[in-house]
Amino acid sequence: MNVVWMIAAVMLAAAAWITMFRLLAGPGTLDRLVALDTLVAVAMCAVGTWAAYSRDSTVVYGIAALSLIAFVGSVSVTRFRVPDTETRGDRGRL
């Protein structure tokens, strides 16, 4: 059974690692925002995996907090960010 949790952990770590590339490289702020949302989703999956592995339910509240705070953060970025068109000048075409 340990192998199953190990596989899940390796896949989640690889997912976070690969997503980090788009977060750092993404040409526009929206790409970075999408990558950041995915990173938070992967983190929530990881916390859920830990809860399932350890049968420890105290971390479950962290998933609820992460889901709500990620929502507030993403909506704030889409509302208040500086558009890419102003910083690049070519209508933001990628």
Binding site: A15, Y61, V75
Partner: protein
């Protein structure tokens, strides 16, 4: 190792696999809308699978209700963010027009769809 443990393991590994495929998609796809399409997999289906696996493992705990609530929060908040990001991406032309078969937003803007 009971049957419930096996079900839980399959659910968690399935959710993790979805997270991995979404990460690959985010790096490989070309424009923001395609990346959003890939990003929704761990946000909704992957997370729900992992949470279901955790709920199966933690059955009988008082905190299973919190797990269900997490799933509901995700289902409620994900479409809002996706709608905002998609609208902004379209408005800033971070979309490859040649990949769109139908562009209803542009037709609406021209008033052809009324």
């Amino acid at each position: 190792m009971s049957a419930a443990d096996i079900v839980s393991g399959v659910l968690v590994v399935g959710g993790s696999a979805l997270a991995l495929t979404a990460a690959i998609g985010i790096v490989r796809f070309r424009d923001t809308l395609s990346r959003m399409h890939s990003a929704t997999k761990p946000q909704v289906l992957g997370l729900l699978l992992v949470l279901a696996g955790a709920a199966v493992r933690l059955r009988g705990h008082a905190d299973v209700g919190i797990i269900v609530m997490c799933g509901m929060f995700t289902l409620i908040t994900a479409p809002v963010v996706a709608q905002r990001v998609g609208q902004l991406a379209y408005r800033e032309q971070a979309v490859r027009d040649d990949l769109l078969a139908v562009d209803e937003l542009r037709e609406d803007a021209r008033g052809e769809n009324r």
